[in-house]
Each structure stands twice: as structure tokens, then as C-alpha cells.
Amino acid sequence: MSLANSLRSGPDAGGHFGAYGGRFVAETLMPLILELEAAYEASKQDAAFQAELSDLLKYYAGRESPLYFAQRLTAHLGGAKIYLKREDLNHTGAHKINNTLGQILLARRMGKTRIIAETGAGSHGVATATVAARFGLPCTVYMGEVDMERQKPNVFRMRLLGAEVKPVASGSRTLKDATNEALRDWVANVADTFYIIGSVVGPHPYPAMVRDFQAVIGNETRAQMLEREGRLPDLVTACVGGGSNAIGMFHPFLDDAGVEIHGVEAAGDGVDTERHAATISKGTPGVLHGSRSYLLQDSDGQVMEAHSISAGLDYPGTGPEHSWLKDIGRAKYFAVTDREALEAFVLLSKLEGIIPALESAHAVAHVCKIAGQMKRDQIIAVCLSGRGDKDIFSVAEHLGEKL
């Protein structure tokens, strides 16, 4: 959508959101991402493509997802009304399927016959392996060894779905390194391979394309809120690692001046320690994985390791559009520690019977901090980006229980 005086018209033709974004990739990949951009632009105008995607979102992924009024959490916190956008109820248990369905249709449209992906928590890997199985395409998922250890159920799921999970032993052995390895695979297999990036990161057109596929979250929330409450929420919030569920939630609200927007990063042990993943809150602008954005880096421009209890937020970069939204002040970014996220994980399970993903628990923890300070007639919509089944082993360990 290209609107004058709109915050929703970015990026520019070069893929820039203000000073962020762009295309910082090896020359070998440039023709591919230009081809992808052309195919993506064409798909937007293609009624048959859009109809196929809508059909899959509805009958395969199970959209639309409910906007659920969390009555007991609201009463417990004693302030604003809290609604949960239930992306955890999608097929594969997270918002990731919205994007992988869109990208695999593009891969087919472009005649690509092999799928690769990177994954942190494994949610994107599972969502990619799922759509690859659905369309009968071979799939290789790169995953850091550290993440494979803390997300064993998802590793098994991917293999069950027929994907090859390749352990990545370089660097910090987490999402950043898995992304490097996926890029290396892509540059070596340019003719037949489609790289399904899982977040609003990477070179243009990925940040815009993934956002557009995830904007279904915010579009539905907006319509559902108008139907339930007859008005827009006062605040929308979501967790931010790369930031795909967050931008999907935020983007449709960017031009609604009355809607406050809060992104929630992972503070790990705390933002003033060396162990956190609060890229936007504590990082500086830099270039990694194809775009310019906030980055955790040292003074020499070496990328630092991020730390979070949540593998999905354990990334030293973030989406360029988030960096831009921070700089222009349209969105505010906060950080939640491992401990606070764990408390919210347990709280939501006990009060609402909903076990959230550890990633989503960061957003819930932020709501726990602010809802009580808001008025009872105010409304918060929080994106519950995924379910927590994948996290029960690591949470049990942190709570001192052996499964």
C-alpha cells in the first residue's frame, strides 16, 4: 500500500526504512533477490495467488485466529482489559505458518524445487518443514547446536515432517549462525533453491514481504476489536526478536495515532548485564544478514552473542522496520528478563489455561507490568505468538523440576 503521509508506505524502492534495511548481500545473491522481489510484487496483483493463499490460511492453518478476552488475567492485574490474539492456535502452534505458506507459494511460482530455512526456537523450522511436506518439496533446516539441545521436540517434529535438520557448530551455535549457514547454502545452490526466511530480517524484499504475510495478525485484530469493543485498542504489544509477529501486529495500526505500540525484547539476565538480547534497547546501528538495523556489536563492529531463555528471541539483530519505528518514536521498545518471562509463563498457564511460548511470555510479562497502571476502560491487545508446548522441558529445568 502506498499512501501519502502514511507510516505504512515503506520501504522505498531500494528496500530502505529511513536509514535502515537495504540489500547488503554478496553479488552472487543480488540477481536472486531482485528476481524474488519481482515475483513477490507480481504475486500481490495475482488474484489466483491471493485466493490460494487465503484458502490455505483458512483451511490448512486454521485462520482466523480468535481474539480472546483474558478475563482472569485482567482481574488479576486490576487495570486495562487484556485481549490475547491467539496465534498459538494456528496449525504448527505459532504465527510462523502465515509467512511460510506465503513464501512456499512464491517458491512454486518461481519454479524452485528445494527449500532451505534457518531456525532458532524451531517454530519457523517446523512451519517451513510443514509447508514443504504439504507441497512435496525437499527441505533443509539449519539450526544451531545450542538451540537443537533446548528445543528437542521441534527437532523431532521437523524430522518427522521429512526435513533434514543440519546442526550448526560455528560461532555461538544459535540463530545468528544458523542464518549464516543458510545464506552459504543459498549462495551455493542458486539455481533451484528458495530460502524461506522466518522473520522480518535479511535483505530487501524479505523484511517487507514477511511483514505483509504476517500483517494478517494485525488486520484481524483490528477488525475483531472493532466488532467486540466497537473501537480500537489503546495499546498493542508483542515480543520482538527478529520481530515478525510484532510487525504483523503493529503494521495495520501504524496510522492510528490513538493506538500506542510497545515492542518487547528479551533482557536475558538484565539489560545492564552482558547476557541479553535487547538489540533495539541496547544496540547500535550496524549491518548483518543483508540489512542495516540495530545490532548487538562491539566497538570494532564484531557481532556479539545474544542471550535469552527463549531461543526465538536469542538474536543479536532485529528487523529494519522496527529500528525505524524506534527512531521516529512511533513504537516504544521495552525489555523483559528471563525471570519475568518465566513468571508470566506460569501465570498465564494458571489463570487462563493457556501455556504460552516463552517468546510470547515476554509480551505477557510486559502487560503484567503496565496493565495495572492503566484505567479499567482501556484496552490492551497482545499478540500471543505461539504455544508453549515446545518449551516445557526448558521451563521445567529452570523451575528445578525433572521431566
Binding site: G14, E27, T28, P31, S170, G171
Partner: protein, 276 residues
């Protein structure tokens, strides 16, 4: 005239290709790296590509990744790599030196300050692997103002229209990537490289160096018959990886560099180079 253009002009008269070794600055430590750097011209290096180590070298294969990691562990930083160049220049005023790496450390250093400092240190060219033509102005313009060339890439995926755009603002030489892939993994097919170089030569009179898959003296000789420069990196840094001491690293790298240089010279002396 710059050191780079002087060198290619001289080699053209001699009728041979340039041998261009790559090593990572500071691999495995600053002192050993300086010893290797100082030894390379004596081995027959016509131009040297010196790597600026980066934590996330996503266009590199395992060999250069490991060398980058060793260098960073050994305390390498961008300022120290620039210091390395200054020390090298105290003894060698004529071998062209090109810094190669990823954009983020340069971005963190500041592009204008970087261009000034590397020019003052005696650097002749820059290669930023993840700065395609769409994004390279931010470095190309300040570098050009200091008389430093930004070397651009052409790859097997580069089409005709894009090739024209790349050569338009290119200077120094062009770097042809012989295989679609990361450094030091796949092996090129000679006929593909020959066809690609013919295509590049039709579009530009700049010298063309070839790299990304050349490991042995035989392969270097094959490329020397076709191109104006032969770049070898992974095979050389592997010698550092295998060495048990600083001294044996210098010895192993210089032995291989000498063999590669000799193979390059022997082959290319027999043919005319293509650029005019």
C-alpha cells in the same frame, strides 16, 4: 597512476597474470601475520589481499571462517589490521595491497575516517563482500576521494544488464567469482570461466582477477591462461590452520605461495593477456 594500475600495466607488458594471495589479517596472531605478509612479495605475490576479520563471514567457506575466528581470538581488530598495513609499508612501497572483508566493521569504524586512514596507511584497494552496487556508494565515494579503488564482483549469476551497471563505476580491477558458492569449496569448470571472462572483457577494459575455488598450482595455471589475476585464499589459510607453530605457519604458507606464483608465471608467459 596507482600501484594497482602500475602493476597490471607492467604485467601486461610481461605478458603474464598477477598472482594474488589472500590471508586474514592477524591470523593466527598479529606477529605471525606480519611475517607472512612481509614474506609474500618474495614468494612472487604481485598483489596482496589482506582480510579484515569478521565474526559472521557469511560468504566464506570453512577455511576462511576458521582463519577469521583465529585472527579475532588472536586479538585482531580493524585498527590493528590497518597498523599491520603500516608496518608492511615500511619495508615494501610497491606491492599493491587490497583490504578485503565485510561491511559492518567498516561501518562501525566510520566510512569517511576508514577511507582516510587506509589511504594514509598505504592501502590501494578495498573489497567489501556484502556491498553490492546498490549499496556501495557509501564506501566507494569516500574511498575514491582518497585514491583508493573499490573492487567490484562479477559472478556466474550476473546477467548482461547487471554486468554493465557493475563495470560502469568500477575501478582497480574486477573480481570474477569462479563458482556460485562460498570461498574455498566448489571447483570451477575452466570452460565456464573462459566464457565468463570473455563476457566481462567485452564490457570493460579493466583487468579481471578470478578467485573462489583455486587451490592448487595446476588450477592457478589454468586460470592464469584466461585471466589477469589469480586469487588464492582458502588453500593458504589452511596452511596456517595446519601449522603447529608460528614459524612453521610462515614456512608452509610461503612454500605454497611460491608454488602458486611459479605456476601462474609459467603458464601466463605463453599467452597474451586480453585487456588493452
Amino acid at each position: 597512476m596507482s600501484r594497482l594500475s602500475d602493476t597490471f600495466a607492467r604485467l601486461r607488458k610481461e605478458g603474464r597474470a598477477a598472482f594474488i594471495p589472500f590471508i586474514s589479517g592477524g591470523d593466527p596472531d598479529m606477529q605471525t601475520s606480519l611475517a607472512i605478509l612481509e614474506a609474500l612479495p618474495g614468494c612472487g605475490a604481485d598483489i596482496i589481499e589482506l582480510g579484515m576479520p569478521f565474526s559472521d563471514p557469511m560468504a566464506d567457506g570453512p577455511a576462511v571462517q576458521a582463519s577469521s575466528t583465529r585472527a579475532l581470538k588472536g586479538g585482531a581488530t580493524l585498527p590493528r589490521v590497518i597498523e599491520l598495513v603500516k608496518k608492511f609499508r615500511k619495508k615494501d612501497g610497491k606491492t599493491p595491497l587490497v583490504l578485503m572483508g565485510y561491511f559492518n566493521p567498516i561501518h562501525a569504524y566510520g566510512t569517511a575516517r576508514f577511507a582516510r586512514d587506509v589511504a594514509a596507511a598505504g592501502v590501494d584497494g578495498l573489497i567489501a563482500v556484502d556491498l553490492p552496487v546498490e549499496e556501495d556508494e557509501v564506501l566507494r565515494l569516500p574511498a575514491a576521494a582518497q585514491g583508493v579503488d573499490l573492487i567490484r564482483f562479477i559472478t556466474p549469476t550476473t546477467g548482461e544488464a547487471r554486468l554493465k551497471r557493475i563495470v560502469e563505476a568500477a575501478s582497480g580491477y574486477l573480481y570474477y567469482v569462479s563458482v556460485a558458492g562460498v570461498t574455498g569449496t566448489k571447483t570451477f569448470a575452466e570452460s565456464d570461466v573462459a566464457a565468463a571472462i570473455a563476457r566481462v572483457r567485452a564490457a570493460t577494459s579493466l583487468p579481471v582477477a578470478v578467485g573462489f575455488g583455486i587451490k592448487t598450482p595446476e588450477q592457478a595455471a589454468a586460470i592464469a591462461r584466461l585471466a589477469d589475476g589469480v586469487v588464492v585464499g582458502s588453500a593458504l589459510v589452511n596452511k596456517v590452520a595446519e601449522a603447529e607453530s608460528s614459524k612453521s605457519a610462515v614456512k608452509a604458507v610461503t612454500e605454497l605461495a611460491t608454488a602458486l606464483a611459479q605456476a601462474t608465471r609459467a603458464q601466463s608467459a605463453k599467452v597474451e593477456t586480453g585487456f588493452v
